[in-house]
């Protein structure tokens, strides 16, 4: 049986790594290639890279940066940021990306998920769902790096994505981002019980026990986070870290 995966999510902005809170106030935390080398040595399960500016600027993740990452990564990795064409996915896969993460474009064009899955296989297509509760407490999907609310109910949208052929779903609670106070367990459980594809819990990881409750209380196949892997101590000093294999196996 495959083991539960713990996946650092690294955010890219102008070629550097950044990390923020609730999708804002991003702080520079280092050079991505250097981070990959550290994660190689730590034999991390997998890496996610998101370019947080590209969609806003109508661009996509920089292919030169992806090529450099692909050459360094001895672990599987996925990239996201402005993915909106079959041709772009082809180019990314050719550079060495295992899977692409579709976010805003999946919301405006859900049929694109189907087209991409039929070309590259479901296993290469990850949909990332950023959601936040509205004033009535309903979880709504947001797009463009959480700047724009949509009419989509997050649970229904997750179901739609899996039916369209997405191979994995990442669930990002915008309210939990960078807070390091635990995952949105209830909602991740709901989605992971509902869909037949692997679900990755995102946002809120602050310590290993958060991953443990994600693993034990939900049907999620993996958990991802940012701050937990790049910050250390009460003053949030930048320090790239990853749990030991024995710690992960004991979750």
């Amino acid at each position: 049986m495959s083991s539960f995966r713990i996946i650092p999510t690294l955010l890219l902005k102008k070629g550097g790594l950044v990390k923020g809170q609730s999708f804002a106030n991003h702080k520079y935390v280092g050079d991505p290639i250097n981070a990959v080398r550290i994660f190689n040595a730590k034999e991390v399960d997998e890496l996610f890279f998101f370019d947080i500016e590209s969609t806003l600027n109508g661009e996509h993740i920089d292919l030169d940066v992806v090529s450099k990452l692909a050459n360094e990564c001895y672990m599987p990795f996925a990239v996201g940021g402005g993915i909106n064409s079959i041709d772009l996915i082809s180019r990314l896969i050719e550079l060495g990306v295992e899977k692409v993460v579709i976010n805003s474009y999946a919301i405006s064009e859900p049929d694109f998920i189907k087209e991409a899955a039929e070309t590259f296989g479901s296993q290469a297509i990850v949909v990332c769902i950023d959601y936040k509760s509205d004033k009535n407490g309903l979880k709504k999907v947001f797009l463009n790096s959480s700047t724009k609310e949509t009419d989509y109910d997050a649970l229904k949208f997750a179901k739609l994505c899996s039916e369209m052929g997405a191979g994995e779903l990442v669930l990002n609670s915008i309210e939990k981002d960078g807070m390091q106070n635990g995952f949105d367990i209830d909602f991740i459980k709901k989605v992971s019980d509902l869909v037949s594809v692997p679900v990755i819990g995102g946002c809120g990881a602050g310590n290993l026990s958060h991953f443990k409750s994600l693993k034990l209380s939900t049907n999620a196949s993996a958990g991802t986070g940012g701050s937990f892997f790049v910050f250390h101590g009460p003053l949030n000093a930048v320090l790239i870290s990853y749990p030991k294999k024995s710690e992960i196996n004991n979750l």
């Binding site: 049986m1 083991s3 050719e94 039929e118 590259f120 296989g121 290469a124 191979g167 196949s221 993996a222």
Partner: protein, 203 residues
């Protein structure tokens, strides 16, 4: 020359770069004529089976590749979708494969929701037959899998290892000069990459 086949949906660039870092030269081939001189072949693959076969056909690779492997006995190492393309046919797109190994590619099918499809993540090998492809590797090491379909061999002696996800499936296949892994050795840390190095150096 070691030749990596580029179907247009395969991660050729990073494989070439990593081999180079291990002192191994290779070339990338996008058409049939470019594999004529190949002395060893790597067939990587990410993607949909039907799309993979379509692209091999479009680039006039199929006949030359089958001739090289079947008649000239050029060693080939196929990865993930590449391994599935070696089979007779696949349920993915209900499509004929290269027919280089006596096997077929079928979809995982679990009646309850507890086992997710695709199978994604790190999983171990159960060794069935000995091979130099496993030289210098730790038998306990996990490898990275990401697939919705798996290979079912008709001939047990073609199975070098199996892996369990709901049930056993073939994770490393070998028939004469033909090798295939369902997992990604190039993305299974440096320990996993050793399998690819073994292929290049020992066969």
């Amino acid at each position: 020359m070691l030749t990596i086949i580029d179907t247009g949906i395969a991660n050729v660039g990073s494989i070439k770069y990593k081999l180079f870092n291990h002192g191994i030269e290779s070339q990338i081939a996008t058409s049939g004529s470019e594999i004529k001189e190949a002395t060893k072949i790597i067939l990587p693959g990410v993607g949909h089976f039907k799309e993979g076969m379509k692209r091999l056909k479009q680039n006039n690779i199929i006949d030359i590749l089958v001739d090289k492997v079947k008649n000239e006995k050029v060693p080939i190492f196929a990865i993930c979708l590449g391994m599935q393309l070696l089979t007779m046919k696949s349920e993915e797109g209900n499509c004929k494969g290269l027919g280089l190994i006596d096997a077929e590619t079928v979809k995982f099918n679990f009646s309850n929701n507890s086992l997710k499809i695709p199978h994604v993540g790190w999983n171990k090998l159960h060794f069935k037959n000995e091979s130099d492809i496993f030289k210098n590797i730790n038998p306990e090491s996990p490898y990275y899998f990401t697939h919705s379909y798996y290979v079912k061999c008709n001939n047990k002696k073609d199975i070098l290892s199996s892996t369990t996800y709901g049930h056993e499936f073939v994770s490393v296949v070998n028939r004469e000069n033909i090798y295939g892994t369902q997992f990604h050795p190039e993305k299974s840390h440096r320990k996993g990459f050793q399998i690819l190095i073994n292929f290049v150096k020992n066969f």
